[in-house]
């Protein structure tokens, strides 16, 4: 049994815990952006579909998953709060209106599918469809704006870097969403969904280039920050992965396409984390070692996360296994 004294004395197993939690926090964020990302992307594609049947197929496909996927955002926020409280407080209060824009988009997105099925008149369903699409597109966009501002230490809400990262992230969710819908609702949806995915991935690459260009201008060290081997490898890898994604969709290897979209999401967030490190709040210059909580709570949280996150992976495995294969609108409760 580990004693409180032992937990106060030093970091668990001598681990570099500030770095561990920095990595974990971005892993949680990337997991949210991939998993809820395909829900968002599905919501964006929803807006491009023609018939009620097709739209209901999208709602049925995301129905069992989105709530669990969204919890990754809650856990990301909790991890940031618990491990780096000053950074959490500083970031969230400085980007005040942006945070509420994200929340507003998430509320509308979550509510819309529940409301849609309540009534079958046209106006009602059209209104909630608009809400669903708006929430699905705006949530990743505003998150991207926040991430862009965070990365370069911008004080305000609206900025060029925020805009390009917002577009990048939104396009990436469409990449994931198209693969997800091909996997879950292929028979109810037109083949054009695959084209949307392929267009989105090309757009995503262009948006990444734009983001890097703006970053080269905005970062204090300029382009030298971006000439990091890890970042170069990840950017080159995204181009290869994008080609692989297009190929996989064309060959109807939809699970592989979805997996590639996931790898691209983790890659993008790794670039963000790499650029920022060792700062956690570039606006104030605060580093992870300055803002990390003291040893005892950090050790306790590490034990907690170490025990609980593997269980969470099991929950998701059970959920996704139970709903493996296509989901039809008739299954909706």
């Amino acid at each position: 049994m580990i004693s409180v004294e032992g937990l106060t004395a030093g970091p668990l197993f001598g681990l570099p815990l500030p770095e561990v939690w920095y990595g974990l926090m971005f892993t949680l964020l990337a997991t949210f952006l991939f998993l809820d990302g395909f829900d968002f992307g599905a919501g964006a594609i929803y807006g491009l579909l023609d018939t009620d049947r097709q739209r209901e197929a999208v709602l049925a496909a995301v129905g069992p998953f989105w709530d669990g996927n969204e919890v990754w955002l809650v856990v990301f926020g909790g991890a940031l709060f618990a491990a780096f409280p000053a950074a959490y407080a500083g970031l969230f209060s400085r980007h005040y209106l942006l945070m509420f824009a994200i929340l507003g988009a998430l509320i509308i997105r979550g509510l819309a599918p529940e409301m849609y099925e309540q009534r079958h008149d046209n106006l009602w369903q059209r209104a909630w469809s608009v809400a669903f699409v708006a929430g699905s597109v705006l949530a990743p966009f505003f998150l991207g704006v926040f991430a862009g501002n965070w990365l370069v230490g911008n004080e305000g809400s609206i900025s060029l870097i925020g805009l390009v990262v917002g577009v990048t992230l939104t396009l990436l969710t469409v990449v994931s969403g198209a693969a997800f819908l091909r996997l879950k609702a292929q028979h109810d949806l037109p083949p054009v969904v695959s084209t949307y995915g392929q267009l989105a991935v090309v757009g995503y690459l262009l948006a990444v280039v734009a983001t890097l260009a703006v970053l080269a201008m905005r970062l204090p060290e300029g382009i030298t920050t971006l000439l990091d081997p890890l970042i170069i490898v990840l950017v080159v890898a995204s181009i290869v992965l994008a080609a692989g994604y297009i190929l996989a969709l064309r060959r109807e290897q939809n699970l592989i396409a979805l997996g590639i979209a996931g790898v691209m999401t983790y890659g993008l967030i790794t670039v963000v984390a790499r650029i920022m490190y060792p700062a956690i709040d570039p606006a104030t210059g605060a580093t992870i070692r300055e803002t990390i909580v003291s040893t005892l709570p950090l050790n306790l949280m590490t034990i907690g996360a170490g025990l609980l996150l593997p269980l969470v992976v099991v929950y998701f495995a059970v959920l996704y296994t139970a709903f493996s294969g296509p989901i039809t609108p008739e299954e909706a409760y």
């Binding site: 409180v4 106060t8 129905g63 069992p64 998953f65 709530d67 669990g68 969204e70 919890v71 809650v74 856990v75 926020g77 909790g78 991890a79 709060f81 618990a82 491990a83 409280p85 000053a86 959490y88 407080a89 500083g90 969230f92 209060s93 400085r94 005040y96 209106l97 945070m99 509420f100 994200i102 929340l103 998430l106 509320i107 979550g110 509510l111 529940e114 309540q118 909580v293 003291s294 005892l296 709570p297 306790l300 949280m301 907690g304 996360a305 609980l308 996150l309 269980l311 969470v312 929950y315 998701f316 059970v318 959920l319 296994t321 139970a322 709903f323 294969g325 299954e331 909706a332 409760y333």
Partner: protein, 477 residues
Amino acid sequence: MDPVIASRAQFALTTMVHIIFPVMSMGLAPFLIYFTWKDIRTGKPVYEQLRRFWTKIFAISFVVGTVTGIVLEFEFGTNFAAFSTAAGELFGGPLAVEGMMAFMLEATFLGIFVFGRDRVGDKLYFISSVAVGLGTWLSAVWILIANSWMQTPRGYELASEGGQTVVHLVDPIAAYLNPRFGYMYVHMQNAAIESVALFMAGVAAYYVFRHHVWGFDHDNIDFWETTLKIALIALLITAPLQAFHGDMYGRHVAETQPQKFAAMEAVWETDSYVPEYIVAAPTNLDSITDPRAKELFGIGIPGGASWLASGGDPTAEITGLNEFDTEAPPVAIVFWAFRAMVGMGFWFILLSFWGGYRWYKGELFEDGLLHKALMGSSLLGIVAVELGWVVTEVGRQPWVIQGVMKTSEGVSPGLTGLEATATFAGFVGLYSALLILYGYVVARIIRNGPPGGDDLRTNREPSPTPESPAVGVADDD
């Protein structure tokens, strides 16, 4: 508006709206586990109807609870950055663990529980109902650990870092199992079941009344009769327990937060042999906004408040509000909210005994007055929960962490009045719409009644190969 006022108003609004949904989901959880179990074990249509009907209300409550809950987590950072920076070490941990331990469990298994009946076997389906229910109750553990620590902070020490006071965790067991936690958890979870029991009873009473008293024929009257009986059993257990436990809780508050207790009783001057006013009536308009125990016309139990505070001594002394160095909380809100909550609590006990007696006499479905009383009380459990939280949260003012940090010191330093007012106004609009929509959807579910006929699995011909075969996790049923 001042950023402090706007932030407090916004947090009050967003928590008061949010708490409705966890009350519904935590309160429904044990019923749903029971219905699922009975559905699987007996195969009787009524249990499938009960499971599916109340699952619909659970699902919509859960979704609205999710989206309104994320708002609260964010608000600690956006509006109360100074508090979050100072107390993050003790306060952030429970929120993170809540997400990983509880919210993940409920949100993933909810997908199976709501959408997956035809995809998984009986065993996994039942496990899903338990996982969802357990998740909602574990969620409350961590949220109430965080809240109770602010009421009775323990296991910490204060340090000054960069000119700012920061709270450091030194004894996690003392901090997280602080004296308030147990009282709060029992009171809240029992309140959730009691509130849902009142809601179920009220809805069922409406249909029972129409069928038996007014003579309209309802197809699903079995379903509503069973609902009424199950709700009544739950009410008979939870209503007396809530009052009994509330008495102990009150004594604990008197010991640990004497200023809050004085506000609950509107005792300004330190006094002994203080009566507990069961019925309190203001003698003039000022007494509504500024109640003072000594000036109220009331029917009181002599020495009752002293008895409550001390655990049985009617002559015990209660410290008056004038004795404390800090300003008093808004006494009128705390005093009247406490009275209304306690009054409702006793009414629920009366209602449960009334219903229990009629049932015992075999007249449960004939007493129209009882049905009307139940209908009228269907939402009062939730109202009582709101009032209880008002007593808890308004009563601890001016402190955000009792005796350590004031609420006004916790607000984000850079926040402007314009920003805070803008989002507050936005939430007034958005949450009004949200409540109306939620009420509309729940009313619609109730009006449509339970699923029936061929729609029920239990009425379907058992087929060896279901339409969409369960993949991967099908078990041996």
